[in-house]
């Protein structure tokens, strides 16, 4: 309501965030939290199995170093930048919600940042001092200890972020007491952490296995032993990951679980719901099969197969995050702000006076017969555009055509009858915020979009029009009016007391 609205009509705004966030989660879980302890463990194994007179098994150590180099480069480029990218994209797409969250979670994010700085410094020291550390056994052992420190810090970063995620998903808490502590004590914090920790280890293991097939020669003992080690690693964590997944699903508040099937996808919900279970079970089964093969007959584990498994577990992580993120709908902050960024407590006002009147930016403060389409466009931008596009992913025309028939001309009356009740039929939808005139303008606009194929442009290209009822001139008039009224009241009081 108070921000110019950025809008990507082809991609869908939510998708922009999802894309960046999912890449970040994959790198954080797969290449930091789960991968660094694996590499440290491998480095330690190299020292344990070193030939006499050597500090470590040099070819083994070289392999672990190469693996770490890949992890180092990816985490400090794509990993770091997608982390910042989450901030950038969320602030663009969802300014009101992130602005609210940051005023409550500033300290959590600040602490998280300090841990993150430590993590980056440690990762640089760990990787850049690797070759020097091979000079003496003392320095090598110190280097390995460093690796374990780094592993712990990566895990702490994740543990704090999970608290923030957990809080945002637990509806109701925001309105009663919003403090950081709440994030750690809410009922899905521990389950989420218990699920994410072993899952990250599994993903890190599969990624490591993939790198091993890349950096070792076929039919060597080095490759055989390395694949076996990674397989043992995965097999240790996979059952814990499965147990964590089941536990996590079980303690999700019932409202959320009920909402889950609608939240998973946008086309055929029950199909998506089944798909999630297949993907979860399937990917865990797949990595177990992979590592059992690695243990029994490591020569069968080749790069294409390892890469395939790696992509599958990345995909699994992506789908899990998608479910987690969509599960909290229709809210973006449970019980406080809907996913269209409008606060629940403001709804009565919007329903009575219309949403346009209170918007900071709109070219049409009120709906008239002449501006109906333009007003409808503004209503759409303010109350639908965070999740729907006009011509792209999850387009509003497509959503209605799916109900009324693909390609059929949309009927304004049916849509106007449906929209005020849609949140009852589809519980993941926020209620329509505007008044009757705005509803009719909106459906006229949707029909117009269907007929013309018009594309909705965001503030980044079209700019914004300041609402003439909410600019500085209007505010000044309002102030003067209030002043006059005050003066009049004082005058009335004066005469009353004089009499």
């Amino acid at each position: 309501m108070d921000f110019p609205l950025f809008h990507l009509d082809w991609l869908n705004d939510r998708f922009l965030i999802a894309m960046i966030a999912i890449i970040h989660v994959i790198i954080n879980h797969g290449l930091a939290v789960g991968f660094i302890p694996l590499v440290t463990w491998l480095e330690q194994k190299g020292v344990k199995n070193s030939p006499s007179m050597e500090i470590t098994d040099l070819s083994w150590d070289k392999m672990a170093w190469k693996m770490m180099k890949v992890g180092f480069i990816i985490t400090t480029t794509l990993g770091a930048m997608t982390g910042v990218g989450i901030w950038f994209s969320v602030a663009l797409v969802s300014p009101a919600s992130i602005g609210s969250l940051i005023r409550v979670f500033y300290w959590a994010w600040f602490v998280e940042w300090m841990v993150f700085v430590t993590e980056v410094v440690l990762i640089m020291i760990y990787f850049l001092s690797w070759e020097n550390a091979n000079r003496s056994l003392t320095s090598k052992l110190r280097h390995i200890r460093f690796g374990w420190f780094l592993s712990i810090f990566s895990w702490i970063t994740m543990a704090i972020i999970v608290s923030i995620l957990g809080f945002m998903m637990d509806p109701g808490n925001w309105n009663t007491h919003h403090s950081l502590l709440n994030g750690f004590t809410n009922p899905i914090y521990i389950p989420q952490l218990l699920f994410r920790t072993p899952t990250a280890m599994v993903v890190g293991g599969v990624f490591g296995l993939m790198l091993i097939t890349l950096f070792t020669q076929h039919d060597t003992t080095l490759r055989k032993n390395a694949i076996r080690s990674a397989s043992v690693w995965i097999l240790c964590w996979a059952p814990l990951s499965l147990a964590g997944a089941i536990y996590y699903y079980g303690v999700m508040p019932s409202a959320m679980t009920a909402n889950m099937s609608t939240a998973v996808g946008t086309i055929d919900f029950s199909q998506y719901y089944d798909l999630l279970r297949y993907v979860m079970g399937g990917s865990i089964l797949l990595v177990v099969l992979l590592s059992v093969t690695g243990l029994i007959k490591s020569s069968l584990v080749k790069f294409p197969l390892a890469l395939f498994c790696c992509l599958i577990v990345f995909g699994f992580l992506g789908i899990f995050e998608r479910v987690r993120e969509f599960i909290r709908k229709p809210y973006v902050i449970g019980g406080y702000m809907y996913s269209n960024l409008l606060k629940e407590e403001d709804y009565p006002l919007y329903k009575r006076d219309g949403i346009l009147k209170y918007a900071t930016y709109t070219s049409t403060p009120t709906v008239t017969a002449e501006n109906k389409i333009a007003a409808g466009r503004n209503v759409f931008m303010l109350s639908c555009s965070r999740c729907h596009t006009t011509q792209g992913v999850n387009s509003i025309v497509y959503v209605f055509e799916r109900m009324y028939g693909i390609g059929k001309p949309l009927d304004e009356n049916s849509m106007a009858g449906y929209i005020p009740n849609m949140h009852n039929a589809r519980t993941y939808m926020p209620p329509f915020p505007g008044n009757r005139d705005e509803l009719h303008a909106l459906v006229a606009y949707i029909k117009y979009v269907q007929q013309t194929g018009e594309v909705l442009e965001g503030a980044q290209t079209e700019g914004v029009t300041v609402n003439s009822m909410n600019d500085v001139a209007a505010a000044r008039l309002l102030l003067e009016k209030q002043q006059q009224e005050n003066n009049r009241e004082i005058a009335v009081k004066d005469t009353a007391s004089a009499n």
Binding site: F3, L78, L92, G99, I102, R103, G463, V472
Partner: protein
């Protein structure tokens, strides 16, 4: 005239929640953390420019090639610190100036979000440049092109940040701005940009002065005829 300005100046409502800290404290955190961030950004940009210059000069004089390599090794470390140290001021500006910052973000949105892929690419290029030094020793043109591409990106990124930060300060322009380019031509952007570029070169000079002047820096084993004094002096001029 005044009426036109007033009519295009919005009066947005702030987010109805208290600041997490007293305002003066948040401002202090913002300023201090931003200083820490920008020093490493200076070193990242200045270091890449210096590497590019020295590597070109190094085509004729091997010592400069060595100097380019020594500087290149600092870029990747400085860039990592630049990014992580940027998060604290980002958090603080989000909190303190939510309405201003988010409005400017949205109005320059496409370019703003392009910062992410552009910087990622530039970072990958700096690693590629650093780790291919020996492999591409026979193909200097390509190797120099890699760092040149990274330098171009690094030179463009500050412009995006400055356009955004500058637009924040002019709410009366929010109603008239149409995208990045129209915000680019607002007053102040280019003077601030030039100041930043010059500052980057200056700060990098100071850094190299310290870096190569350290007592335990094995200077003599790296260079044949360049002395600590020539490198230090070159950085001063």
């Amino acid at each position: 005239m005044l009426n036109i300005v007033l009519a295009t100046t919005p009066v947005p409502k702030d987010i109805p929640l208290d600041l997490p800290l007293p305002e003066w404290l948040l401002v202090t955190i913002l300023v201090i953390s931003f200083l820490a961030h920008i020093v490493f950004v200076n070193l990242m940009l200045g270091g890449s420019l210096l590497t590019l210059w020295a590597e070109i000069k190094g085509l004729k004089d091997k010592d400069y090639d060595r100097f380019a390599y020594e500087t290149a090794k600092t870029i990747t470390v400085n860039k990592s610190l630049a990014v992580v140290l940027g998060v604290a001021p980002l958090l603080s500006i989000n909190t303190l100036y939510s309405v201003y910052f988010y409005s400017a973000n949205a109005l320059t949105g496409l370019m703003w979000i392009s910062v992410i892929p552009l910087v990622t690419i530039a970072f990958l290029l700096t690693y590629l440049h650093k780790y291919s030094w020996e492999k591409l020793a026979g193909n200097k043109a390509l190797h120099i092109a890699i760092i040149a591409a990274a330098v171009l990106v690094f030179l463009f990124i500050p412009l995006i940040f400055l356009v955004n930060i500058n637009l924040m300060l002019f709410p009366e322009k929010w109603g008239t701005v149409r995208g990045f380019l129209s915000a680019l031509v607002l007053p102040n952007v280019f003077p601030r940009y030039l100041h930043f570029i010059c500052a980057s070169l200056g700060v990098t000079g100071l850094f190299i002065f310290w870096y190569t002047g350290r007592k335990n820096y094995p200077f003599e084993s790296y260079y044949t005829h360049l002395t600590r004094y020539t490198i230090k002096r070159k950085r001063i001029h």
